[in-house]
């Protein structure tokens, strides 16, 4: 009883505070709303879809869209808000239903192991496909063609590692968290503490990126102010997790995956119908589109290459328009294919199914859903390029993040104008549900690490009854959610693009090596876990801090200086009395200002220029994580850990020990 009161009181306080907080900016943007509503946030839209932007040399290339192609994207507020209300209504019913069955720690963290393989497959897909993949990748394809498609491949291939290496062993050897798997034959306290820290780090990076993305997206789509969006999303996410635990989170993810797949499928059918369901004709119309040809000509001109007409159109289907640093590409690929299997919120999903067979089935279902989605994304991306033109997409958002939504409006409106509004509103609702599903999974993973690993097992030595465990889990989720909201609000103007890549890099360099070694290597022990997690995590974060991801004022100043020199030269070359045209004068002035503002500055960690040349640390930090874990085991061998390997290995392969516990 007291538990409920505490939580209800806390939630109420949170919402009241939130409402008060939200009041002010609501007015502010209302004034600025109407015609400017779309254009204004569009300028900051680039970092919305962090994952995709992670690789982006900031498409500042947006440059000068032909005025004739200027487009606007304005969702019908009434329809969109009602769709949001329907989603909130449905999910809240799910939460009430789930809250009734959440009584033990196992219910809260793992839905009592009662999720079926098929359900879990949909939930994994729902947990994994963030707004970045939903809007960002199709946007990348619509602006850069082939490279966007190539980028999407790693997100699916990552699941081969999950399927073959971690899913079933984790189901057999684990309970609720990463700490459970790692502490099996090691000293539980230090291992759990370090595992929890790493889980919280990964979840925080990912959560911050999602929260900031959510705020910007809502502002862009329906004109809800940034703070209000974050607080609204935050309260819903806290509500789902605190009251409904894993059961509610799972069903929110399943609902979202269903909506996402149907939206993508419907839109793809409309796009392909326009091409007469002829894929060859579809691709020919890309190559033959004069707008795409013109767009590509401008893109390659920056590299000093002249391409025109059909050759430029064909170039859109070839690699290298966007991803220009192969080593960085490979490094990101490593972080993706190894990091997914080390993501705590993904690992956690395998504890919700009763058997290894169900875990296997769920990964395979998830792979078909995720893969199908990315193949459909190609159609949506290329379809947007054909029907909306890259110039039109850039005019709404330079990062291309709005391409899918614009396409939905256009395709729907061709049937009847009201369909355009409805379809756009539906996809906005999908984006909304997507954000909710992903952030809920992250909050649950972070709270499990803090409540189950740190509180119950480190502080209370595992002596806590079910009631206390669930209470601890609920309070932790509330706190994690509240912190998430605060971070989301304070990070509004931060560059969050780097955070998703960082989350994957930490998961790949810290978590994955120790999970694999503890499941498969006899000599692995406490020293190995601690060294692997610490070195992998620190290396990934450290290398990112000295990478080109950060802003280096001196480099900005040098760039500005170049513009100033060029413009001054141009001025000097002019006949006496003549002045530069307005555009050049502005550039000169801006260059001077930028130079003055940046010439003395250093990056966040006090550097003049990056020490590490790649944006993605994986290629260095992943081997470091493995190496540290292995060397530490040789330096500090543990006989007990070696003797217990038989138990871990038999358990993870056969499920003996675990299977019986579920039956009783």
């Amino acid at each position: 009883m007291t538990l409920k009161k505490i939580i209800i009181a806390a939630t109420l306080t949170l919402s009241l505070a939130a409402a008060a907080f939200a009041e002010e900016p609501a007015k502010a943007t209302d004034a600025a709303a109407s015609p400017a509503a779309v254009a204004a946030p569009a300028a900051q839209g680039a970092p919305v879809l962090a994952a995709t932007a992670a690789q982006a040399p900031a498409p500042a290339a947006a440059a000068t869209p032909a005025p004739a192609k200027k487009r606007v994207l304005k969702a019908n507020k009434a329809i969109t808000i009602s769709m949001f209300a329907v989603i909130i209504g449905i999910t809240l019913c799910v939460v009430i239903w789930a809250a009734k069955q959440t009584k033990t720690a196992s219910d809260f963290y793992a839905a009592g192991g009662g999720i079926t393989g098929t359900q879990n497959g949909w939930a994994i897909a729902g947990d994994y496909m963030s707004a970045a993949s939903f809007l960002g990748i199709s946007g990348l394809i619509s602006l850069y063609g082939y490279d966007g498609f190539m980028y999407s491949v790693g997100w699916l291939v990552a699941y081969i590692t999950v399927l073959l290496i971690v899913a079933e062993p984790c189901r057999n050897a684990g309970k609720y968290t990463l700490g459970d798997i790692l502490s099996f034959r090691t000293s539980p306290k230090p291992v759990r503490a370090v595992a929890a820290l790493s889980t919280v780090a990964v979840s925080t990076f990912y959560l911050t990126a999602q929260m900031v993305g959510a705020g910007k997206l809502m502002a862009l789509l329906v004109g809800i102010p940034y703070k209000t969006s974050i607080i609204g999303v935050g309260i819903l996410m806290v509500g789902y997790v605190v009251f409904g635990g894993m059961v509610a989170t799972t069903w929110v993810q399943i609902i979202k995956a269903g909506m996402l797949m149907s939206g993508a499928f419907l839109l793809s059918v409309l796009v392909m119908a326009k091409a007469g369901f002829n894929p060859i004709g579809f691709f020919s119309s890309i190559v033959n589109s004069p707008d795409i040809q013109d767009h590509v000509s401008k893109l390659v001109l920056k590299d000093g290459i002249i391409l025109n007409g059909i050759d430029a159109g064909q170039r859109f289907l070839e690699p290298g328009l966007f991803l220009k640093a192969p080593l960085d590409q490979i490094s990101l690929g490593m972080a993706l294919v190894l990091g997914t299997a080390g993501m705590p919120h993904i690992l956690m999903r395998f504890f919700t199914v009763p058997t290894a067979q169900a875990a296997r089935k769920s990964v395979i279902i998830a792979m078909f859903l995720i893969g199908t989605f990315y193949v459909l994304t190609t159609l949506l991306g290329f379809g947007s390029a054909i029907h909306l033109t890259p110039q039109g997409i850039i005019s709404v958002d330079p990062g291309g993040n709005m391409a899918t939504l614009m396409l939905a409006q256009e395709m729907g409106a061709e049937i009847a104008p009201i369909f355009g509004d409805l379809f756009l509103a539906f996809l906005c609702a999908v984006a909304f549900a997507t954000i909710l599903a992903v952030v809920s999974g992250l909050v649950l993973a972070a709270s499990a690490a803090i409540a189950h690993d740190i509180y119950v097992n480190v502080i209370k030595d595992g002596h806590a009854d079910q009631h206390e465990q669930v209470l601890a889990a609920r309070i932790t989720s509330l706190v994690v959610g509240a912190v998430g909201i605060i971070i989301g609000i304070t990070a509004e103007n931060q560059n969050v693009a780097v955070l998703v890549a960082l989350a994957f890099a930490v998961a790949a360099s810290g978590n994955l090596p120790v999970v694999v070694l503890s499941l498969f290597w006899r000599r692995f022990n406490t020293a190995g876990v601690v060294a692997g997690l610490v070195v992998g995590t620190v290396a990934a974060i450290g290398l990112t801090l000295v990478s080109p991801n950060l802003t280096y004022p001196k480099l900005v100043a040098a760039g500005a200086q170049k513009i100033v020199v060029a413009m001054e030269k141009k001025q000097a070359a002019l006949p006496a009395g003549a002045v530069l045209d307005e555009k050049d004068l502005k550039a000169l002035e801006k260059g001077r200002k930028d130079y003055e503002a940046n010439k003395e500055g250093t990056s966040m960690v006090g550097l003049d220029k990056p020490l590490f040349a790649l944006k993605n640390p994986g290629i260095v930090s992943i081997p470091l994580g493995f190496l540290a874990a292995i060397l530490a085991c040789f330096a500090f061998p543990s006989k007990r850990s070696e003797e217990m390997f038989d138990e871990v290995y038999v358990r993870q392969n056969t499920g003996i020990g675990m299977a019986k516990a579920v039956e009783h």
Binding site: V157, Y159, L163, L164, I280, L317, E318, P319, G333, Y649
Partner: protein, 103 residues
């Protein structure tokens, strides 16, 4: 509630378990390595053999596109193949082992 005690070392030496272990290790790490190599051929190929990726195969559709698309089918194929082998061999061996131990 006391968990049943197992002689883990003895199970680990059981011929059935040894067979399961050998088959699984070969299969899992072998195909894992294959999938990684196949995947990294994509970014490496795109960066260092652009002429190969440019070769048109069907209409304007080029080798690069077909290769990227093939990644999806190879991943799905591998997933289904693994499910087939695991359901047929690994699960059967595990069941036989558990029956033999009378657990």
């Amino acid at each position: 509630m006391a968990e049943r005690k197992y002689d883990w070392a003895a199970i680990a030496k059981n011929p059935k378990f040894v067979e399961l272990h050998h088959r699984k290790t070969t299969f899992l790490f072998g195909w894992w390595a294959f999938s990684l190599v196949y995947y990294f051929l994509l970014p490496i190929g795109a960066a260092y053999t652009p002429d190969l990726f440019r070769i048109k195969m069907i209409g304007v559709i080029n080798f690069g596109y077909v290769f990227a698309l093939s990644q999806f089918f190879v991943s799905w194929g591998l997933a289904l193949y693994y499910a087939h082998v695991a359901n047929k061999d690994f699960d059967r061996l595990t069941r036989e082992l558990i029956d033999e131990l009378h657990i």
